[in-house]
Point group: C2
Chain length 249, copies 2
DNA sequence: GCTGGATAGAATGTGCACATTTGGTACGGG
DNA sequence: CCCGTACCAAATGTGCACATTCTATCCAGC
C-alpha cells in the first residue's frame, strides 16, 4: 500500500482520511479475488464498518463501487453478496479470453519487432525459471502476466483493460472451480506461441492459444467445499496508523 | 408478498421513489451518449439536483456510478466532468472493436448454422431498407446492432457486454469527432461480411471487417465546434410530465 | 501597473439520525 | 397439527447538517 513517511497529517482519527477509501477497497477487492470470501456470502454493511473501524457510509460507497464493477451483486434492500458463478459463466470467461487473444495475436503479428520478441522470450524464460524452482505463486502470477503482456504490446488501453478485467474474473473463478495446483498455464505452451509469432505464423499462434485456453477450460470442475469464514474475523483493523478501536459488542 | 394489494403507496415526487435513481441515470447516460453535453463540461451536483428536482445525494450516487463505468471522470474535491477523448483514444476504441470482432468472426464461423445465417441476412436487409428510405436514425441504430448481433450469436454474455460497451463509447466519440452524416457503416460492407461467413471464408470475413473498421477510423476528424449548453437548462424536472425533453439550443 | 497573498464564497465530502423495507417469530384460527 | 397473519428486530436507504477543500476576487505591497 502507498504510505507517505514524510508527512503525516495531524488528523489520525480516521475521520477525513482520503486513503481510507482505497484501503477498504483494496482489502475487499483482494479478499474477493483471492477467494477468501465464499461465493454467496452476504456482506452486511454494519459488521464490515465495525471490522474496518470506519463509518458505514464509507463501506457503503466501496460496496456500491464493487457492485458497479460487477465484482459483487446487489439486491435492493437486501444487501450485497459475493456472486456465485456457474460453470457456464466460467466457460464464458475463458471463451471470451480466447476470442480476444485470437484477435490480439492477429493484430500483433503485424507489428512484432525484435525488441518485443526479445521481451516476450525473456518473460517465458522467467516463467520457466519459476516452474523449475517450483515457485507456484510466481508461476501463477507470471502466467497471467504473459497474456497481459501480449495485449499490452498493442499499446491499446481499452484492450489492456478488457483483458485485465477478464484475468481478474478468471482469478475469482479459479478459486471456486479449479484447484490451485492446476491453475497456472503450461510454460511450454506460452513458449510455443511466442515462437510461432516469431515465425510470423499467425494461424499457428492462434491455434496454440486456442488449444491452450481449451485445455484450461477442460480442467474446470466444481470444488467440493468452498471455505466459509466470518467476514468480521477476516478483516482486522486496517492500517496500524489508523483506527484502533472497532470492537464494541 | 405485499400484504396490502389494495393500497398503492402514493409516490411522493422526489422523496422515496426508487425509480428516481434509474430515471436520473437514464437521462444523464443518454445525454452523455448522444453528445448533448459538450466534452469537458463540469457536472456540478447542486445545479443537477435542482434541475432534476431530487436531492443532491441522489445525484451524487448516480454521478459516482457513471464514474465507475468510465462514462465520466472525477477529480477529487473538484467534481466530475465529461471526458474529452483524444483522437488516439477514439482510434483505440475502433482498434479494440476491430480486434474483438476478428476473434468473434473466427469463433462464429465454426458454429454458423442456417438459422443464424438467415437472421443475419434479414438484419442486413433491414439495413438496406433503412438506407433506401433515407432513415438516418434507423441506419445508425441498425448499423450498431449488426455488430452486436454478431457478438450475441456466440451466446457469450461477457463478449456481448464488452462489445456493447465499446459501441456506446464509439457513440460518444462519434459525436465529437465525426459528422453524424457519416457515422453509420456502409450497408454493402455488412452484407459482404455475412456472405463471406456463409461461404465459411473466415479470412475474407475478417479482412472485410478489418477494412470496414479502418474505413470508419480513417473518416475521423475533429469537429470544429462542440455544442455548449447549460446543463441546468438541459434537464427539466422529471416525474411530473413523465418524460424529460431536452431543450436544444 | 503588476504580482502575491489573504479572504470569502461555493462546491464537494462525510458523519449522523431517521425512514422504509425485510425476515423471522410468535400467536391465534382452522 | 398446520397455516395464515400480525408484530418486532435488524439491515438498508435517504435526507440533512457540518467539515473540508477549491476557486475567484480584492487589496496591499513592490
Amino acid at each position: 500500500m502507498s504510505s507517505d513517511p514524510t508527512i503525516v497529517p495531524a488528523r489520525r482519527s480516521g475521520k477525513g482520511d482520503p486513503e481510507a477509501d482505497e484501503a477498504v477497497y483494496a482489502a475487499l477487492h483482494a479478499a474477493i479475488l483471492e477467494g477468501r470470501i465464499a461465493a454467496g456470502t452476504k456482506l452486511a454493511e454494519t459488521p464490515l464498518a465495525e471490522a474496518f473501524g470506519v463509518s458505514r457510509e464509507r463501506i457503503r460507497k466501496v460496496l456500491h463501487r464493487l457492485v458497479a464493477e460487477r465484482r459483487l451483486e446487489a439486491v435492493p434492500n437486501r444487501g450485497v453478496r459475493v456472486p456465485q458463478p456457474t460453470l457456464d459463466d466460467v466457460r464464458a470467461i475463458y471463451q471470451a479470453h480466447r476470442v480476444l487473444e485470437a484477435g490480439v495475436l492477429r493484430e500483433l503479428a503485424e507489428k512484432l519487432d525484435d525488441r518485443l520478441l526479445g521481451e516476450l522470450r525473456m518473460h517465458v524464460g522467467q516463467e520457466q525459471r519459476a516452474a523449475m524452482e517450483r515457485d507456484r505463486a510466481a508461476s501463477v502470477r507470471l502466467s497471467g502476466a504473459f497474456h497481459l503482456r501480449i495485449a499490452d504490446a498493442l499499446g491499446n488501453a481499452q484492450l489492456s483493460a478488457m483483458l485485465r478485467d477478464l484475468l481478474t474474473r478468471s482469478s475469482i473463478m479459479v478459486s471456486v472451480y479449479e484447484s490451485i495446483a492446476e491453475s497456472f498455464c503450461g510454460v511450454q505452451e506460452h513458449g510455443a506461441i511466442v515462437e510461432a509469432l516469431a515465425r510470423h505464423d499467425v494461424e499457428r499462434a492462434i491455434a496454440l492459444s486456442g488449444d491452450h485456453f481449451r485445455l484450461v477450460e477442460a480442467r474446470l470442475q466444481l470444488r467440493p467445499q468452498p471455505p466459509k469464514v466470518d467476514v468480521a474475523r477476516l478483516f482486522g483493523p486496517i492500517g496500524e496508523a489508523g483506527g484502533e478501536e472497532p470492537v464494541r459488542s
